[in-house]
Point group: C2
Chain length 402, copies 2
Amino acid sequence: MRTFRGLTSMEEATGLIEEHTGPIDRLQIVSLADALERVLGEDIKADFDVPSRDRSAMDGYAVVASDTLKASSSRPVRLRLGGKVSIGQTPKLTVRRGECAAVSTGCFIPDGADAVLMHENTETDAETVVVYKPAYVGENISVRGSDVKKGSVPLRIGDFITPARVGVLASLGRAVIRVFDKPNVSIIPTGPELTKVGFPLEEEKIYDINSHTLSAVVTENGGSPELRDPIMDDRESIAQAIENSMDSDLIVVAGGSSVGERDLMYDVLSNMGQVLFHGVQIKPGKPTICAHVRGKLVLGMPGHPTSCLSNAYLLLMPIVRKLAHLPPRRLTTVRAKLSRRIVSTLGRKVFMTVRLCEGQAEPVYKESSAITSMADADGYIVIPENTDTIEKGDEVEVSLFY
Amino acid sequence: MRTFRGLTSMEEATGLIEEHTGPIDRLQIVSLADALERVLGEDIKADFDVPSRDRSAMDGYAVVASDTLKASSSRPVRLRLGGKVSIGQTPKLTVRRGECAAVSTGCFIPDGADAVLMHENTETDAETVVVYKPAYVGENISVRGSDVKKGSVPLRIGDFITPARVGVLASLGRAVIRVFDKPNVSIIPTGPELTKVGFPLEEEKIYDINSHTLSAVVTENGGSPELRDPIMDDRESIAQAIENSMDSDLIVVAGGSSVGERDLMYDVLSNMGQVLFHGVQIKPGKPTICAHVRGKLVLGMPGHPTSCLSNAYLLLMPIVRKLAHLPPRRLTTVRAKLSRRIVSTLGRKVFMTVRLCEGQAEPVYKESSAITSMADADGYIVIPENTDTIEKGDEVEVSLFY
C-alpha cells in the first residue's frame, strides 16, 4: 500500500502554490455600480481638472485678499457687496478692489477674487459686508485641479476599488470601467455517495457539502465558482472531469486524495502533470494534493468537510486571491484566553476551531467529518508543529471567519 | 444667521442612531448559492440525522472491537476478511466475531462491527487481516447524528452565513433559504451643480461623487442602495424627494446640511420629524444632520466628498449594518509610526486619512472637498478631541479601508 512520501509543511505548500500561480490577464467591462471591490484593469487618466475651476470651500464672500489685510475686530474693513454667485453657474460678475461677492460652498470663484471669507468672520446688510479678520490669498478656495489634475493618473491598473476610488471614478465621469475578470474555479466533487442539494436523499447517500463550502470561499475571495456535478471516484472519471475543466483558471477536486483504496488523485495527476506536493503537515487536512497541469493548478482537497474547508482557508484562498489580483486577505484577529486545555499533535500544525464566549476561546472542534466543527466556530487558532499542549487560560490569537 | 447650536459628540451621535435604529423584518428567499454573507431569517431544524448512519472516518477494516483486545505487534490477531463495503451503498454483509470487512472513508458501518481499524495498523492478504493493535469501541466511526442530530437546530435566525454555515445548509439539503431582506437605502444628491455620471459635463458643473461613494458603503455593509437623480437644493425639492423615498428603510441626503445660505436640511427635517442631532464634533464632517421621520432615519451628509465619505464610515455604516442584522464591522487595524507631525483641531475628533509606506503611516489628507484625500489612503486614524499634535514617530492605530 502506498503511503504519503514525506509530508510537506504548510509553509512549503503555500510557497509552491505561490510560485506556480500568476494573476490572470482577462479583462471585463463593468458599470460604475459594479466596480466596487473589483481590481482596475486600466490606468485611469484624467481628461480634465477636478475641480474644473477654482471653487469656494465655504459659504461666505469672495474677496480680494489684500483689501482685508488690516481688518481686525476693533478696526473692521467694509466692502461693497457686488452681487451673488449662484452654484452650478459660471459667475457673471467680477470682484473689483473694495468689493466682494456672496458665494456658497462649491461655487466657482468670480474673476478678480483670490480668497473666500467665512460668514462667521463677517457681518452684512444688503449692500455692505463688514470684515473682522484678514483673509490670505487662496483661503477657502479649492484650486482648479487640486483634487485631480488633468493628465494625471489618479488610479492605476491593479488598484483595488474601494468606495473612495469609486468616488474618483465618478469625479471623472467614468460610467464604465475595465477591471480584471474574476478567475473561474471549477469545483469537482467526487464520490458515489454524493447527492446534489435539491435532489431527494436516498438512505445510503449524503448531500454534497464540499462543493458549496469551496464555492463560498472562492466567491468571498474574488473568484467565480463553477460547480460540476458529482462524479464517480475512479481514475477515468476524475481524469475526464479535470480534462473537461481545463478552460478554468483553477481546478479543485474534492475528495479522493487520501491514501488508501480510493487514493486516485496521485495517479491521475502524476499522469497529467507535475505533482507539487501530496500530503501536508496540517491537521485536519493532511490528504491534500496539488499539481501543475499544462500551466494550471489542480488542487485535490480531502473529502471530510472540515478538512476540506480549513484547507480552503489556508491553501485555496491565497491561490484565488492571487489569480484575482487581490492582496493577501488579512483575517481580523483577536486575542483571547483558552477556556480549556487542548492537546495537539506533535509534528503537524493544527487548525483548531473556536467559539468566542465571554472573551474566552472555547474549542468547538468535533471531528474532521463534521461540518459543524467549523459552522459553530467564530474563527480558528493555529497550533505550531512543536507544541503538544496549550493550557487553559493561555492566550491565543484567533483568526475570525467574519 | 443660524449657527450650530452646540455640536454633538461622535459618541452621542452614534448612540442616538443606535437608539433609533431597529433591524428590518422583511424576509427574502434565496438559493443556497446566494446565501453566503446573508443573515438567516429562519431557524434551520434538521429533518434527519447527519450522518444518517454510522460511517467510517478512515480507510480500513470494520471489526468487532472485543476481538482485537489482545492484539499487539508481537502477538497479532488474525481476522477473516468477510468482504468489502462499497461507499454509497447499504452494506449487505454482517461482521461476525472473528471476522472483519474492508471499508473506506465515508462507508456505512456494516451490522455487527463497532470499530474501524486503520490500514496502517494491519496487514492483509486476500482472506485474512492481521491486526497489530487493539481497537476501542467506536474508534474511527462517525456516529449517526454526531454532526447534526435529527430535530436539533444547528443554525438559528440571525446567524450570519459563513462558508461553513453554507456547508451545514448543504448537509441538510437546503436548496433555498429564508434570509433577511437587504435594507433599501435611498440616496438623494442635492445641488444644481451636479451632473450624473454618464452624461456630458458642462463647464460650470461637477460630477455627482457622493451618490456613488455612499452607495458603495451601503453595498459593502449589506444594504441595497437606490440612487435618486440629483435634485435642486431648495426646501420644496428636498422635502418632496424625502417624501418620495419614505418607502425605503433609510434615507440619505448628500449636501445641503452645512450652516449658511444653503442650510435647508434643518428646516425641512424639523418640519417633517424630530432632529436627533445637527452638527457633529468631527473633522471633516461637522455639518451632518440626522432626524427621525415617521419611524425612519433621515441622514443629511455634508456635500464635500471626503466629509461625506468619512461620515459614511463612522455614522452610515453602523445604521446599515444594524438594519441588515449584521454585527458591527471590525475594520482591520494595524499599528504604525507616523511619518510626520500632524497638527489637529482641539475640541473636534479628527478623521485623518493615511497611506502605509514602508511601515509608516503617511498622512494623505488634502482637503475635505478632494475625494483623493480618501482614495489615496489605505486607512484612517482618529485623533481625539483633546489632542492637538501627534509627533513624527508616534505610534498610531490605522483602521484599514480594505
